[in-house]
């Protein structure tokens, strides 16, 4: 069935190219070298990555086509070639239809995923990839109906795409604390291409002078797996003698919204979502497979302000597990803050930026200073660092992964 869908998509793309052949093909993209060193081992590169990213676009009066292939070439692993997006557009006065693999971004939060839940994350380098690279495309049908300042968007995702986790052995692989080496059972991890495994989302958005608003809802398979454990205990010694881990993706329902509100020189942002039926890992003996289904809240309040030419932004984010039970490995409330300060010098030739995630529960942080210099139009040199602090938590677990990097990027 997936093959049939691929052929169908390819057919649509070819027919789209043929119908739009009288329009000029727009080619843009970038090439980039990204070289990083761990500060704990300045003798070895932690990453040397060369990237080619292409955007090929055809736009007609009522139709459009976009293909976004990319290539990552590494010094120590096989190259990665993929299509981030490949889709067809059809436009009418009020209705837009987009079919194909596409990135769909929702919400007002920055660097945090609350209602932004359609395009799964690529966490192969934790949260360090550029924003456009951290979201995978999903094969979807998207309809947008526009009337004035109002938009209604419906998305149907027939093919489930999970979060891309760091490869085992990667410095970004999260720590999994199993008492003994487990056996992995992936029998439920691959979701069949079926209507029952498809996902549906709806968004209403408003962009007005007074405020911007989004109201969203969705029924979907949560992109991160729940790890269901099966323990084999020796009946004599009562010691654990075997452990099977079965990752599975479960359906959740979500409702939420976000807004941006100008208040004088400030822009106040908010975003929140209620998740019905998320799975959490637990050590409670009453949960033999080590998971518990709970409802969950995720919300953010943020503010943007410009002071003496410095663009400042702060966000306060909380994740709250409802009807919490002892043994759940996540805390009942997890609080994170983000901070951004950014300023340009020499007429946008030099940018200085500091972005930080701060975890308040574990007193850990990821601090990302970055300097960007525009050597020439389209040619940019970046130098920066990723500094992890703390000993535990979302960021503290990578305390030994402090890194300095340089990127040279040419856009065309």
């Amino acid at each position: 069935m997936k093959r049939l869908l691929s052929y169908l998509l390819l057919g649509l793309v070819v027919s789209g190219m043929l119908s739009a052949q009288n329009n000029q093909l727009d080619i843009s993209g970038y090439v980039r070298n990204y070289t990083g060193l761990l500060t704990s081992d300045m003798d070895q590169f932690s990453i040397v990555q060369n990237t080619l990213n292409l955007n090929l676009e055809l736009r007609g009066e009522k139709t459009g086509l976009k293909v976004n292939p990319y290539l990552y070439q590494y010094f120590d692993q096989a190259p990665e070639l993929g299509l981030r997006e490949i889709y067809l557009d059809y436009y009418t006065d009020k209705l837009d239809v987009r079919i194909g693999k596409q990135q769909i971004i929702w919400g007002k939060a920055e660097g945090v995923f609350i209602t932004d839940i359609i395009s799964p994350k690529d966490l192969s380098e934790f949260l360090l990839r550029d924003f456009e690279e951290i979201r995978s495309g999903v094969t979807a049908v998207k309809l947008n109906y526009h009337t004035g300042i109002h938009t209604l968007e419906g998305v149907w995702v027939p093919v489930f795409t999970p979060t891309i986790m760091p490869a085992s052995g990667s410095i970004w692989a999260p720590s999994l604390n199993f008492p003994i080496p487990p056996v992995w059972d992936y029998s439920t991890a691959n979701k069949a291409f079926s209507v029952s495994n498809s996902e549906a989302f709806l968004r209403y958005s408003l962009m007005a002078s007074a405020f911007d608003l989004e109201l969203v809802g969705g029924s979907f398979l949560y992109d991160d797996p729940a790890m269901h454990l099966t323990r084999q205990v020796d009946p004599v010694t009562k010691q654990l003698k075997g452990l099977t881990v079965r990752p599975d993706y479960h359906r959740v329902n979500m409702a939420g919204g976000s807004f941006s509100l100008p208040l004088g020189d400030l822009v106040v942002r908010g975003e929140g979502a209620y998740y019905d039926g998320r799975y959490f890992q637990t050590t409670a003996p009453t949960s033999p497979d080590a998971t518990l289904e709970k409802n969950y809240l995720h919300y953010m309040a943020g503010v943007d302000y410009t002071l003496a030419g410095i663009k400042l932004s702060a966000q306060f984010i909380q994740e709250r597990i409802l009807d919490y039970e002892t043994g759940i490995q996540n805390e009942v409330v997890e609080t994170t803050m983000t901070f951004l300060a950014k300023k340009d010098f020499f007429r946008e030739k030099l940018w200085l930026e500091l972005f930080a995630y701060v975890g308040l529960n574990n007193e850990d942080a990821l601090i990302r200073p970055k300097l960007s210099y525009s050597i020439a139009d389209g040619m940019e040199l970046q130098a920066g660092a990723n500094i992890f602090t703390g000993i535990a938590g979302r960021f503290g677990q990578y305390d030994s992964n402090d890194m300095v990097f340089m990127k040279l990027k040419y856009s065309f």
Binding site: S28, E132, H146, D212, D265, G309, K311, E348
Partner: protein, 258 residues
């Protein structure tokens, strides 16, 4: 004076026909006349900005711009065409004749998200040019005190010379001096003075032309005399009153690009 109109988009040739002629105007009357000039219901144009530094090195930015003014709200959307690293970015501004703060949004294609931004940073330079956002926006004459300091001829054009000082402190310029052509009330030249009273920038109109019965300024140069840096804006394919639909000034339009 509306600098955006000074940049050119649309100014009416003669106030003679509208009966706005006075034997001797005050500074305020001159600036109010300029501010209230009908500018067409909508305009669209391709803009080229050439930034030249003191070494003579040039950087070029190209945009497409659409402006519509109805019901006291001026809506403007700009699509960034080049350089490549900003291509696909769009910027939208709604400004209000009531004096309400502008509403501004930016769409960044890499983020695939339209973001509302604060209009408080009007002193920032637009795309690294010598024009600040404030220079490009509307400044109502009531925000300044105006004095007609003299009348003189510049480049063969008889002009009113008006000195304008902000009524409130904290503005980026301590004063401006504007040369307004008597025959058409187009601003021909303006000097901007920094908070210390020193000349900071000079704006000069270099080319203007009548399009669809409306005078349009096609080339203007802003020079920062302290930094020896200049920006020349040239308009091409200017269309006036061709009908820019309201749907041009929406999130859909920002995300789709030009």
């Amino acid at each position: 004076m509306k600098t955006i109109k000074f940049l050119g988009l649309t100014v009416l040739l003669s106030m003679m026909s509208t009966g706005v002629i006075l034997a001797q105007k005050t500074g305020l009357q001159v600036m109010q006349t300029v501010y209230n000039l009908p500018s067409g219901e909508d305009t669209q144009a391709e803009l080229s900005m050439v930034l030249t530094n003191k070494q003579g090195e040039k950087r070029v930015r190209q945009l497409k711009q659409y402006i519509s003014e109805t019901g006291g709200v001026e809506k403007k959307i700009m699509y960034f065409v080049s350089p490549a690293d900003v291509k696909g970015t769009s910027f939208m501004n709604w400004s209000y004749s009531t004096g309400k703060e502008d509403d501004q949004w930016i769409y960044l294609p890499a983020l695939k998200r339209t973001k509302r931004i604060s209009s408080g940073s009007k002193g920032d330079y637009f795309m690294g040019s010598d024009f600040t956002y404030d220079d490009l926006g509307d400044r109502h004459p009531d925000q300044d005190t105006h004095k007609l300091v003299r009348e003189e001829t510049v480049a063969g054009k008889a002009c009113y010379v008006v000195e304008s000082k902000p009524k409130t402190s904290g503005h980026m310029y301590s004063k401006t001096i504007t040369w307004v052509m008597k025959d058409n009330f187009i601003g021909l030249k303006r000097e901007f003075y920094d908070p210390n009273g020193k000349l900071l920038k000079t704006l000069l109109v270099k080319n203007y032309q009548k399009i669809s019965g409306i005078w349009v300024i096609l080339e203007t140069e802003m020079k920062n005399v302290q930094k020896n840096h200049s920006t020349t804006i040239t308009l091409r394919n200017v269309k006036v009153n061709q009908g820019v639909p309201a749907s041009k000034f929406t999130e859909r339009s920002m995300t789709m690009g030009s």
